[in-house]
């Protein structure tokens, strides 16, 4: 485990004493279970269209649709508008969208996209940012200047703007990962693959590494002259060895705290890109919100429900981030990392 016994004790103490961390653990647990077990929990295939079931409202509400058709009345073609009331059914507890796809199933499957992009995107950001920051802080001087100035340039572009431009340039490549539940034959092939928006993972990592680099740099600067680092250097340890064995482990706590906040930021960023139609996958909460835009006056749930799912997920991750921050107190301000 990456935490020392002392930090683990601090985490447990905060968890026991405060309400919000407990809530965070529960909500995040639900999110992970929903994403992992989506094929077991989803009542329908999230991509199957059933047009005769379209725009069903969630349980407890009723919806109306207007249908215009041309009919021959007294030898003349007339446009007739019929309003039909659609009632909710337990077959689709959260209703259906304009193409008759089950909202609950889409929400569950959408959690996979959000979580995967959030975690992998943060990993990409960390792979770029942490070594850069550690090297800048450890060596200082010109190397520090050069690396951190390049970071300043990255910061001048809002992450969403840069992400949009990069996705526009590189297109939207996706990676199809076989769904383990389907491969093992436990559930029938609903969608047989998890479609991971590959370009988006790289791009969100690329536009967010600076925040992690800044934190890593600050830590490394403080550690560069720590007694045990000086001792290691005096017995001839290489810089590479010192960075990996002494600096990185001691800088890890604040990096992890910020990385958690970054997961939330990146989930928001992915949903924004999906809303704009720039991710290349359509099984995503942000994309579903955009699908409901033109239905606001007739079918409010098509935008509202996937939006709640985004808030739920980001809120859960932020609660975990706050818990880590409060327990470990790494001196990060409330919000060290960019937004959507």
């Amino acid at each position: 485990m990456m935490f020392t016994p002392r930090t683990r004790r601090a985490l447990r103490r905060t968890l026991r004493r405060q309400l919000l961390p407990k809530l965070g653990v529960v909500l995040f647990g639900l999110l992970v279970v929903g994403a992992l077990c989506a094929p077991l929990l989803a009542p329908h295939d999230p991509t199957t269209q059933q047009l005769d079931e379209k725009l069903r409202p969630p349980i407890g509400f009723s919806g109306q649709t207007e249908q215009t058709s041309s009919q021959l009345v007294d030898g003349e073609v007339k446009t007739v508008t019929e309003t039909t009331t659609i009632s909710a059914t337990w077959t689709h507890p959260l209703g259906t969208d304009a193409l008759g796809r089950d909202m609950l199933s889409r929400v569950l499957y959408g959690a996979r996209t959000s979580l995967l992009v959030g975690l992998l995107g943060t990993t990409v950001a960390a792979i770029i940012g942490v070594p850069t920051g550690l090297i800048a802080g450890y060596y200082g001087g010109r190397i520090d200047d050069a690396l951190m100035r390049s970071g300043d340039v990255m910061l001048a572009f809002p992450s969403l703007v840069l992400a949009v431009a990069l996705v526009g340039l590189f297109g939207t490549a996706t990676v199809r990962i076989p769904d383990p539940w389907v491969v093992l034959g436990i559930t029938p092939a609903m969608p047989a693959h998890v479609v991971l928006p590959g370009t988006v993972v790289l791009v969100v990592g690329l536009v967010n590494w600076v925040w992690l680099a800044r934190i890593a740099r600050g830590e490394a600067m403080g550690l560069a002259n720590a007694p045990y680092v000086l001792a290691a250097r005096s017995v001839g340890a290489s810089d590479r060895f010192i960075l990996r064995r002494h600096v990185l482990p001691n800088a890890l706590t604040p990096i992890l705290v910020l990385a958690t906040i970054q997961v939330a930021t990146i989930i928001l960023l992915e949903s924004a890109l999906a809303f704009l139609g720039f991710t290349g996958t359509t099984l995503s909460w942000g994309f579903d919100v955009s699908q409901g835009r033109d239905l606001l006056s007739t079918a409010w749930w098509v935008t509202t429900i996937p939006g709640f799912a985004i808030v739920f997920a980001v809120f859960a991750v932020n609660l975990i981030g706050d818990w880590f921050r409060d327990a470990l107190d790494p001196g990060i301000d409330a919000d060290g990392g960019g937004g959507p």
């Binding site: 809002p158 340039l169 809303f275």
Partner: protein, 329 residues
Amino acid sequence: MVSGRFLARRFGHGVVVVWAIVTVVFLLRYSTPGSVVTTIAPLDASPQLKAQIARELSLHEPLHVQYATYLGDLLRLDLGHSYVNNTSVRQLLASRLPQTLDLAIAATIVAIVIAIPLGVVSATRRHTPTDYAATSFSLVGISTPNFWLGLVLVLVFSVGMGWFPVSGPARANGEVISAIDVLYAPQLAGRWLTHLALPAVTLGTYFTALLTRLTRSGVVEELDQSYVRTLRSSGLPPVVIRYQHVLRNALVPVVTVLGLQLGTLIGGAVITERVFAWHGLGSLLIDAINDRDWMVVQGCLIVIGVGFVVINAVVDGIYTRLDPEVSME
């Protein structure tokens, strides 16, 4: 006071960052597979147009000549030609900038007016229901995607209540109006505000939440300092202590983070403009990417990047006023 040397250094640093920004934007066009002409030219460009573009941007010349042409054009404030819209990019950007500024400034005002008092109250009444309410609000606020918030606000206040227009900027005689037009024709202010209200709240919410959190943690930290106890024992009214002494010190870190987070505001503006069919830079950028109009994308990136640097320089100026120690270096 702010020394001349400090200002000169700050200016020099800004110039270097601006140069780096325009260079990164220049290099981006070479980062795609395929030739540069295909990146810059619209999809349906004829061979003649492609040849013309190559000539105008010296694309057949070696890289350093292309770069020199590019920098030379920028110095003359020539941002090139939009081959899709068939106008100059500068004109296109100039026509959209006022709308984005309206939106960003209105959102910032919303954020400051709500967040700073809320953060102070939350910090001074720590662990009371007021504090919990403010903390929860800010936590939900930073977790809410603004495109969704915008749609929900439209659903409730435009579709439901009918108080505000659903989308689009205010227009007079078919022309989009912005704050500058309102200055000349105050009778348009009402219309302008009803159109601006929902987008401003949408964009401002994330920022309000962020600022509330920052203000709260800043004030909490300051309240523990010994000078606060001294001021209290000297009998100063709590309001004076809070807003004149504590807040002033607590704002120093808030202002720094705020400057860095301005990117978030601009990024949020892109999405908000999309939701409300706002006639600003953000909509322009998204349209340009969809139309593969690289010259416009490039222009937007430069204006946004340089704008960020300029605003941060201003923020640094405010910073030195708030904290005299900074200018001593």
